[in-house]
Amino acid sequence: MKTVIAELIVPFAEVLYAIVFSIPLWAVRAFVFAILAALAVWILKMPPQLPEADESTIQSKLADLRYFALAVITLQALLYVIF
């Protein structure tokens, strides 16, 4: 039974392995940066993420969590540039 199931999957797996092996590493790195860029764009398009009105009387722009998230993504991208 185990062999039968494996034989059904293996041809499909071999095609996938061939695809994966053919992808150059620079394309993978580009894909990682694309993920981070997409995340940053999504965050920028969100409305400001500020505290509820009664939590803080001063609604500083620095309290907007979108900037915090963008800083983390930028640092993350920087690490993938370095390594």
């Binding site: 981070l36 965050i43 690490l79 993938y80």
Partner: protein, 502 residues
């Protein structure tokens, strides 16, 4: 095997630290009145403590030792587990999933799934998570004892009893509040202790530049040691395909968005804003985790080349690099790392068994105080069970890895139904039930035939990916052939929102 011994000053530091944790937990316990205080810290937790608690809970009993050892063998690619394998999922969680969980006021992830889908999904997820967490405690205690034995030579039964007693007392008395605040303290100690090892090692080597130059010149085996993304056919289990698809797209989101032990503390945040902020703060701290976990492993290549057992590296570094006093601090950091995982799983296992199994199935409509006491009873039961199971799990050397692999079978399907439940109004209870079952069947089958299908030695990252895809497609298909649930009200706002009723 390298072992060290604690000097008088080291023992003093460790004992003060352990007593401090116990006293802190007992004092917090005086403010707990009901199950909401106990399981959700009365929804009063600050963002900074939650973020630190999330991060330190993720660093398990053997991670300090194991990750340094793995980095010694495979290089900086291990950092993917903390960077691309955590940060995108945490950011998406912060803005989409966590605020939603917080608003619904649920205690557990299975409770959310029960409200969104049906009782079958809630019960299956609760049983699998509850059983896994309860058994994992025994394994955590054993791996902790094993690591303490490697580090300082304590007999394993002594370590098991000491860790179980300390964690048990502060978790039992202080509930989630004690868990989160002690974790925050433990986070500081862990960063300080591990940072000291790395800095001392780098000073001895001559700096980061010297480290990179020396390792890179050590031959072909080290050619990818400073590359985060490595080819699929490189001599590591962490080729890019598994890292991107299995880790970043499935296991990491499933862990950060669907693991009760991680999510529960965000449910105790003071406000929705603080819940979001806590996860973003955690993602910021995650940027530094590889520095303290992977860094010592890389430094070890230069300081101690050719080790037979890479897991011996961390204790060797402590033994060789640190003077008395600092050894005690680093050992306290090690205890902090392991206790923060044990307390989180202990508290979350008790929450799931109390709210999703005991209250939901067997004994509904009792007072809040009754469920709080039930939770405390479960903590004692799981702790005793953990102490009994710990030496037994030690007789099966591969049990920890096996358990993790078995749980990864469940992670992909869980993520599929959680995400569809939140992001797709049309997902139905029947669809999720079928998706969950078929997803688990897919991953179980792949796990069964893995030797004949996968080239990777431990293909859990790939299995998780395909189980996720299977569960996703099945849930969508089965939902489309069933009628939508009229009780789901959909509201599209900054992030997708739905309101669900009991």
């Amino acid at each position: 095997m390298a072992t060290g011994r604690l000097s008088g000053i080291d023992f003093f530091i460790v004992i003060i630290y352990l007593i401090g944790m116990i006293v802190f937990g007992i004092r917090i316990g005086r403010f707990i009145k009901n199950d909401r205080d106990y399981f959700l810290a009365g929804k009063k937790l600050p963002w900074w403590a939650i973020g630190m608690s999330m991060v330190v809970s993720d660093i398990g009993a053997l991670d300090l030792v194991g990750v340094a050892g793995a980095a010694y063998l495979y290089g900086i690619t291990l950092a993917n587990f903390e960077w691309i394998g955590c940060i995108p999922a945490m950011i998406i969680g912060a803005f989409v999933f966590i605020p939603f969980y917080w608003r619904t006021g649920v205690f557990t992830i299975p409770e959310y799934l029960g409200r969104r889908y049906n009782r079958f999904v809630r019960t299956v997820v609760a049983l699998i998570s509850g059983i896994f967490m309860a058994f994992l405690l025994g394994i955590f205690l054993f791996t902790a004892a094993k690591a303490i034995n490697i580090l300082i030579g304590w007999p394993e039964y002594v370590s098991i009893l000491v860790v179980a007693a300390v964690v048990g007392i502060y978790t039992l008395f202080g509930g989630l509040t004690a868990v989160v605040y002690t974790d925050a303290i433990q986070c500081v100690i862990m960063f300080a202790g591990s940072g000291i090892i790395l800095i001392t090692a780098l000073i001895k080597i001559g700096g980061w530049g010297e480290l990179v130059e020396t390792v890179s010149s050590m031959g072909e085996h080290y050619s990818h040691h400073f590359e985060l993304l490595v080819p699929v056919d490189s001599p590591t289990p962490y080729g890019w395909a598994g890292v991107i698809f299995g880790l970043s797209f499935v296991l990491s989101p499933a862990y950060w968005l669907g693991n009760q032990a991680i999510v529960q503390r965000t449910l105790g945040a003071k406000s929705e804003y603080e819940a979001k902020k806590s996860v973003l703060w955690g993602s910021f701290l995650k940027l530094f985790i590889p520095i303290i976990l992977v860094g010592p492993g890389l430094a070890g290549i230069v300081l101690h080349p050719g080790l037979e057992k890479s897991d011996d590296l961390y204790p060797i570094l402590i033994h060789d690099l640190l003077p008395p006093g600092l050894t005690g601090l680093v050992f306290a950091a090690f205890l902090a790392a392991l206790m923060s995982s044990v307390d989180s799983y202990l508290n979350s296992a008790a929450t799931i068994w109390t709210k999703d199994i005991y209250q939901a199935i067997f004994v509904p409509n009792k007072s809040d105080r009754h469920y709080m006491l039930t939770g405390k009873t479960f903590i004692v039961i799981f702790l005793v069970l953990g102490v009994i199971l710990a030496p037994i799990s030690g007789r099966f050397p591969t049990i920890y890895g096996y358990f993790q692999t078995v749980f990864s079978i469940f992670q992909g399907p869980l993520l599929a139904i959680i995400a569809l439940g939140l992001l797709w109004k049309r997902a139905t209870g029947f669809g999720a039930s079928v998706g969950l079952v078929l997803g688990v069947m897919t991953s179980s089958t792949l796990f069964w035939v893995k030797d004949l299908v996968f080239t990777a030695q431990e293909p859990f990252l790939y299995i998780a990916w395909w189980a996720f895809i299977a569960a996703l497609l099945t849930t969508i298909a089965a939902s489309l052939v069933t009628k939508p649930d009229p009780s789901i009200r959909w509201e599209k706002a900054a992030a997708p929102r739905i309101e669900v009723e009991e």
